[in-house]
């Protein structure tokens, strides 16, 4: 056992302590790490002028995606069960912007949550369920959902199943790759990339199913788009009538290929990317990644790349690229009128915050905004809501008080943001003129 010699100092005269310290001083280089610093010290969110945030609900569990009914009630999917339940219902009965009624149901953890017409859709890590909403927008039969999709692959890594619907009776489900870069042995230095990557047959893409059929499996659905490593945030763009997704870029360029990348490059690359998806599109994973500094698709080092070789092939370009590893977990196109003109039809992106920038400091832990015009980005992204972490410098995710994950829009145009660390639901409104 490593000696904690300092404890004995109290027992010895000062003179002898000096001798003792001289003898043991060098061992202090392996000093135990500091205590957990993730204590409650959250200040209010930083928002543009005229906006304000209130805490709609707190401590509800690991709040992933959320959906708002046309009456303004909120359903939140929890990553894991809290008091045996995985979906939380929140209601604000007196209209003060803070939930005062809470209940929960559903015996599964997961991420996806979506409302369209009179149905609530929720996903576990291998299935999608559908609940009927009554005329008040409430789920009455909480214990009897339809299982509309089942048997989706869940091999722990990237197992969340995000969902979104179009207006033609289809539901889109992300099935993330159970791998970082499709190496023969995942995340091991020197292990080659598999060619072709066998994961693509059942994961690393967006699958399309019907909303009105039950017990669909892989054989009923179709692979709508492939080559997307892991998508957590996705939404339907109404102006384009098109699916948009946020991909989590691959990890560990520096750790696996120090001959090609510095630690700083490994922290910054590859980009986190926003794609506008058409049926049959290919995002290029695992063979390529997008470098937002070079503004090019680069051949992955597992497949012969060296950090500079550009990629051939038919992978689509992103419509917007962000710095690496910030983990875009929520995407929402804003269709309300409460927020100023600038925000209408633009995209909000919830960045959960990085971990794989280590040993560099971490980044993300904010909600970004991308302006759109006629269904295309019309300017650079900017930070919209910041300070979820409550700290300026984040060395490790455990330092962050809150981590933004899901986004939803209320019928009044308010923006809701979920936090899966402390279980806070924020309601952001525009109160300026």
């Amino acid at each position: 056992m490593y000696k904690k010699c300092n404890a004995f100092l109290f027992l010895l005269p000062v003179l002898l302590c000096a001798v003792y310290i001289a003898g043991c001083h060098s061992s202090d280089s392996g000093k135990p790490g500091s205590a957990d610093t993730a204590t409650a010290r959250h200040d209010s969110l930083k928002l543009p002028d005229g906006f304000k945030a209130v805490i709609f609900a707190d401590s509800i569990g690991k709040a992933r995606h959320l959906a708002v009914t046309n009456k303004g009630d909120i359903y939140v999917k929890l990553a894991s069960l809290k008091e045996g339940k995985g979906i939380v219902y929140l209601h604000d009965s007196d209209g003060d912007g803070i939930a005062d009624e809470r209940s929960s149901f559903g015996n599964y953890g997961g991420t996806g949550m979506f409302i369209r017409d009179s149905f609530l859709y929720a996903s576990s890590n291998e299935a999608v369920y559908r609940y009927r909403l009554n005329e008040n927008g409430k789920v009455q039969q909480t214990d009897r959902p339809d299982t509309i999709i089942k048997g989706l692959i869940d091999r722990h890594e990237h197992n969340s199943k995000s969902i979104v619907l179009d207006h033609k009776g289809n539901i889109y489900v992300n099935i993330g790759a159970y791998s970082n870069a499709c190496q023969a042995t995942d995340r091991v230095k020197g292990s080659a990339g598999q060619q072709p990557c066998p994961i693509l047959d059942s994961a690393a893409g967006i699958w399309q199913f019907k909303t009105n059929l039950v017990n669909q499996g892989y054989n009923n659905g179709s692979r709508y788009a492939t080559g997307f490593r892991n998508v957590v945030g996705l939404d339907w763009n109404e102006q384009d009538d098109q699916l948009f997704v946020m991909q989590h870029g691959r990890d560990q360029l520096f750790q696996l290929f120090p001959q090609f990348y510095t630690a700083q490059q490994g922290a910054e690359l590859p980009a986190e990317t926003m794609y506008a998806i058409n049926k049959g599109d290919n995002g290029g994973w695992p063979y390529i990644y997008y470098d937002h500094l070079k503004k090019q698709k680069i051949l992955a080092p597992e497949y012969g790349g060296d950090g500079n070789k550009t990629a051939r092939g038919k992978a689509i370009d992103p419509v917007m690229a962000f710095p690496g590893h910030m983990a875009p977990d929520g995407l929402l196109f804003y269709t309300g009128t409460m927020f100023p003109e600038k925000y209408r039809n633009g995209a909000f992106v919830a960045f959960h915050g990085s971990w794989n920038r280590a040993p560099e400091k971490q980044k993300g832990y904010f909600v970004a905004f991308v302006p759109f015009k006629n269904g295309k980005p019309s300017g650079q992204w900017e930070i919209f809501a910041d300070n979820f972490a409550g700290e300026e410098i984040i060395q490790a995710p455990g330092d962050a008080a809150h981590r933004p994950c899901g986004l939803a829009q209320g019928p009044d145009g308010a923006l809701y943001v979920s936090d899966d660390n402390k279980g806070t639901i924020y309601r952001i409104v525009y109160a300026g003129k």
Partner: protein
């Protein structure tokens, strides 16, 4: 006066003992330094500089029975990896632990595990290269 000298002499013996103990090979700063180097290169990206891990993904290396408990099990996880996910103190962690048996040699695994078992607030027995060797199949 004689008594005082005796007490001081006794204390000197204790101090000498501590100095020797602090620098003995099994617990030396060199082992910790070597372990820290391996940790920084191989483990830190996922388990973080302070061993706090990543909520929901990569397990913490503090307050964990996996770290402070049975050496054979811990050594086995480093050599063979873990792809089933793991639950620690009621929290699930889903990311894969890569097998590092072919990347790290016995000494490196012993040093990094000794480092981890004596860092981040942990206090557990050192792990030797012989123990690591015994776990290799």
């Amino acid at each position: 006066m004689k008594k005082t000298w005796l007490v001081l002499a006794g204390m000197l013996v204790v101090v000498e003992f501590l100095v020797i103990a602090c620098n003995s090979p099994a617990t030396s700063a060199a082992v910790m330094k070597s372990g820290e180097k391996v940790y920084t290169q191989t483990c830190l990206p996922c388990h973080q500089a302070d061993g706090s891990g990543v909520p929901g993904l990569n397990p913490p290396l503090k307050n964990s029975a996996y770290v402070s408990g049975e050496p054979a099990k811990l050594i086995g996880i480093v050599i063979d990896g873990l792809s089933t996910g793991v639950e620690i103190n009621g929290e699930a962690y889903t990311n894969l632990m890569p097998p590092l048996g072919s990347t790290l040699n016995d000494n490196e695994i012993a040093d990094v595990l000794t480092y981890i078992r004596n860092s981040f607030g942990n206090q557990a027995k050192n792990i030797s290269a012989e123990q690591v060797k015994a776990e290799r199949k």
